[in-house]
């Protein structure tokens, strides 16, 4: 890292103090990363490029508007895209050498080009069902987004929510049992929220009332919920599957939205979903709006940033934290219901499989912002589904390696791209009044 002077400004003492002089710190992080990926691209797509034709199917059989499948010659496409990647890498190096920042859009374009090149290479001689890839990605993302929303609310109010995993799992278990026994989907969803709230109560009580370290309580809760649901599953559910874990009554129907669901590509992906997914769309918008535009949001953020300041203007810090952590649990619990009611149809041991932790990563990658956290969750969901789609069409990459992909993306996203970000200042800290 080298330092260079920016042009000097002149300070005027009688006006409001000017901002500190700035200097440009050259960061070669982006060009180096681009360079490495360009080299991978050259090796993979050009030197060891595969011959054949790669297909991309863009519509499903039931679509109103049928778009023909795109067929691209694998190696030629790979070469063209690689040239573009190398050009972008060179452009970013040029920008840094001129002390200019590498904007986010360059990174996004680079990532998209690399992705298309990789898909083309992997699909040589086969066809990738694009709607299927995206539908699956949304499906895998739904619980992540719910979990991330819960995480955003909880952390914004000052409590680190490591227990998202436990809340998801509790929601999944309870919603399955309730929906199966009563046959009422609505009751299933409500009970999932209640289950998430119960987990939150424990987290809130221990961390807010008794000042136990929030991370430790969260981890212990995850272990507790995993143990409890696994025990009940093998001891109770498996002995009476028809009554307690019956996928025929649990699974929610898909409700295509007339009109919207006929939009090419996007229609089947976004508007042929279950009620939970539609609730999700509303939840993301509502949380975003309420967090930044309402009294509830202002107070919540104040408590998470500077609890003492909130206290001195008459806001009850403990109560605010308690109820918002509970709300976070309700949202995450609803995400848990998606595992059973929205997708699989029945409860399985440890079926959340770490989704809560990925959701936590999405919170940080999304910088504690509901919209960005949602996008991050979608990215992680996409990475997971890419893995399964590629193994189905028979890609040359070993399946074990592909299984790592979602987690690799998570680590790179959180560690590499995010770097230093500022979260809510008081998140993770108990507020102790003397």
């Amino acid at each position: 890292m080298t330092i260079q002077d920016a042009p000097l400004q002149h300070n005027h003492p009688d006006s409001v103090p000017p901002a500190l002089e700035k200097t440009v710190v050259k960061s070669w992080k982006a060009p180096i990363a681009f360079g490495i990926f360009s080299i991978i691209a050259i090796l993979l797509f050009v030197v060891f490029g595969r011959e054949g034709v790669s297909g991309f199917r863009l519509s499903t059989d039931s679509d109103f508007v049928q778009i023909p499948t795109i067929e691209a010659p694998t190696r030629a496409t790979g070469i063209v895209l690689t040239v573009l990647l190398v050009a972008l890498a060179a452009y970013s190096a040029f920008l840094v050498s001129r002390n200019r920042p590498v904007r986010l859009w360059i990174t996004v374009v680079f990532a998209l080009l690399f992705l298309v090149a990789f898909l083309t290479w992997a699909a040589a001689g086969a066809t990738i069902p694009v709607p299927g890839l995206l539908v699956g990605a949304v499906g895998l993302s739904v619980p992540l987004v719910f979990g991330a929303l819960g995480g955003v609310i909880s952390e914004r109010v000052g409590v680190v929510n490591v227990a998202i995993e436990g809340q998801l799992l509790a929601g999944a278990f309870v919603s399955a049992v309730v929906a199966s026994v009563t046959g009422q989907a609505v009751l299933g969803l409500i009970s999932a929220m209640a289950a998430g709230v119960l987990v939150s109560f424990v987290l809130a009580a221990f961390s807010i009332k008794y000042f136990v370290d929030q991370v430790i309580v969260g981890v212990v809760l995850n272990v507790l919920v995993t143990g409890l649901t696994s025990f009940l599953y093998s001891q109770v559910l498996t002995k009476n599957t028809d009554l307690l874990n019956n996928s025929a009554t649990i699974r929610l129907p898909r409700l295509p939205i007339p009109g919207l669901s006929e939009i090419p590509i996007l229609g089947p992906v976004l508007f042929r979903q279950t009620i939970i997914v539609y609730i999700l769309y509303v939840a993301v918008a509502v949380v975003f709006f309420a967090l930044f535009k309402t009294r509830w949001g202002l107070r919540l953020r104040a408590v998470g940033e500077h609890p003492q300041a909130a206290d001195t203007v008459g806001i009850n810090v403990a109560r605010t934290r308690f109820w918002n952590v509970s709300l976070a649990g309700a949202i995450a619990g609803l995400g848990g219901a998606y595992f059973t009611m929205g997708s699989v149809g029945s409860f399985n041991k440890e079926m959340t499989a770490g989704a809560g932790f990925i959701a936590l990563a999405a919170v940080i990658f999304g910088r504690w912002d509901p919209i960005r956290a949602t996008l991050a969750a979608l990215l992680f969901g996409f990475a997971s589904n890419l893995q399964s789609v590629l193994s189905i069409i028979g890609s040359p990459v070993p399946s074990e390696f592909m299984l790592m992909l979602p987690y690799l993306v998570t680590i790179f996203a959180v560690a590499g791209v995010v770097g230093r970000v500022r979260g809510p200042a008081a998140s993770g800290k108990a507020y102790i009044k003397s």
Partner: protein, 511 residues
């Protein structure tokens, strides 16, 4: 509104912070609460504000007993507080901070920011504050942040306004402006409680003065009392207000900093092309308002900053880029500005803290084993020499008073062979007795021929100790002036102006 406190007693465990305190504030007066650090002034005001619950005593407003369950009740009753550490959310705008807690919303529950902005503008205009309602608090200078605190209190119709050590973070000019604001508020009928330990300010603005010592009211004084009278009342004995020191006999340039810059992670030059030198046997004071790069400068010298340009030499040898350990080994003693955070390990004993920086070899460690007998002897001797008052060298440092903690830091740093001694905010938050002691030791260090740097935001301290004064403002050194420069000139320099009387700007310091 008349405010009366009757027999307020507040205990923290065995410690009685407030012992049956009686206090009456008449409508429209400025009442000063004078006392040392730790005398119990802030505790009393936190009781008044509903943040603490008093064990005994009553709070009366216009002769009606009040029961405050929390700050919300106190505010509703008309009490406002400008806290020493601002109670502002840095990532919120001014308007958001002012509305927080009593937000107006429209029918849909959406915040009515327009009304809040209007309120800020209205109060701001009434008192000539020039505060932009949409500015982010984090971006505002501390003086303006304080005005936001005042606006916050006034927006809730405060009739009694408590200022808790409001001048600690201000330049002399900003302090004068604050005094004018207080008088203006008083003229508008607001009662003001002004908490401070600075005698000059008290005499300037107070109508009445109540002095508190060790949690008790020890007397009232009139604003016409002399500094010496007020000081002896505050401390309980006659106090030397000036530091006795002989003229310096500076030797050769020992410590030279040239064109030093420090860049923070956002690319801002927090220290901007700074040059100065310190000669053997002189004290160079670095003055300036908190947050103008002093912290980063000392950290850069100690090897604690990462992005540093320029040159730092001690006795002709460059120490830039050395590790902290190497810097210490080259003979620099350092008293950090935050002793609890950077100077001491609170859970460790006095003895352990005294050897913190010397754990890698004899005489304290031999063959990987602590030499406990030697340590005991050493610690007892140093405790005595530096007048550390405790129940013994095995007392955890965290249990000591601020003054005694600082003496432990001083004892550790001054017991090595030093080539340079650097003390940042050496008397912050400590009692007058300890201040006298620390000042004497600093002067004694100078007289033994060691170059000394004192970084201080307290103008009194700078003037008392310095042989030469460098004033920092927004990362640069505005000028280096003789130790007998007038406060007015220093005050202007702390605000970034270079008065004409300061003839020779130091070479390389002008950015």
């Amino acid at each position: 509104m008349k405010l009366e406190l009757r027999g307020i007693t507040k205990r923290f465990g065995a410690l009685t912070a407030n012992d049956h305190i009686d206090l009456t504030i008449e409508p429209g007066e400025i009442h000063c609460l004078l006392g040392e650090n730790g005398a119990g002034k802030s505790t009393l005001m936190n009781v008044l504000y509903g943040l603490y619950k008093a064990e005994e005593g009553d709070i009366l407003l216009d002769d009606v007993v009040q029961h405050f369950a929390g700050p919300g009740d106190a505010m509703a009753a008309g009490i406002g507080m400008v806290h020493q550490h601002f109670m502002l959310i840095p990532v919120f705008t001014v308007a958001e901070n002012v509305m927080l807690g009593h937000e107006k919303t429209n029918a849909a529950g959406v915040l009515d920011l327009g009304a809040a902005r209007e309120k800020v503008r209205e109060i701001s205009e009434r008192f000539g504050f020039h505060v932009d309602p949409d500015a982010l608090v984090d971006d505002l200078p501390v003086g303006v942040q304080q005005r936001v605190e005042i606006i916050k209190a006034l927006s809730r119709d405060a009739k009694v306004l408590v200022f808790d050590e409001p001048t600690a973070v201000l330049t002399p000019q900003e302090t004068d402006e604050l005094m004018a604001i207080m008088r203006q508020l008083k003229a508008a009928g607001t009662s003001i409680v002004f908490i401070t330990h600075k005698l000059r300010e008290v005499r300037e603005v107070a109508d009445r003065i109540t002095v508190i010592r060790l949690g008790k009211v020890v007397g009232e004084a009139s604003p016409t009392a002399t500094n010496a009278e007020l000081a002896s009342l505050m401390v309980g004995r006659a106090v030397e207000l000036t530091v006795h020191k002989d003229p310096a006999t500076p030797g050769a340039d020992a410590f030279v900093v040239s064109n030093l810059s420090v860049v923070d992670p956002h690319g801002q030059l927090v220290v901007n092309n700074v040059s100065f030198d310190v000669r053997a046997g002189e004290i160079l004071a670095i003055a300036g308002v908190q947050g103008n790069g002093q912290t980063e400068l000392t950290e850069a010298i100690m090897g604690l900053q990462q992005r540093v340009r320029g040159e730092i030499t001690l006795d002709g040898k460059s120490i830039r880029g050395l590790s902290v350990k190497q810097v210490l080994a080259s003979g620099i003693g350092f008293v950090p500005e935050d002793r609890k955070e950077d100077g001491l390990v609170g859970e460790f004993t006095i003895a352990e803290n005294l050897m913190l920086d010397r754990s890698d070899g004899p005489p304290f460690v031999k063959a990987g084993t602590l030499q406990l007998n030697y340590l005991k002897e050493f610690a007892e001797q140093k405790s005595k020499e530096f007048d550390v008052r405790s129940q013994g060298i095995t007392t955890p440092v965290g249990r000591l008073s601020g003054g005694n903690q600082q003496k432990v830091v001083l004892a550790r740093e001054l017991s090595r062979d030093l080539r340079l001694f650097m003390a940042a905010q050496p008397t912050r938050g400590i009692d007058v007795g300890s201040i006298e002691f620390v000042h004497k030791r600093i002067v004694a260090t100078r007289d033994s021929g060691i170059p000394v740097i004192v970084v201080s935001t307290e103008l009194d301290e700078v003037v008392a100790l310095a042989d030469r004064i460098a004033v920092m403002y927004r990362g640069t050194i505005v000028g280096i002036v003789p130790g007998d420069t007038s406060r007015d000139v220093l005050g202007l320099m702390m605000a970034g102006e270079v008065p004409d009387s300061v003839t020779s700007p130091p070479e390389g310091a002008a950015a």
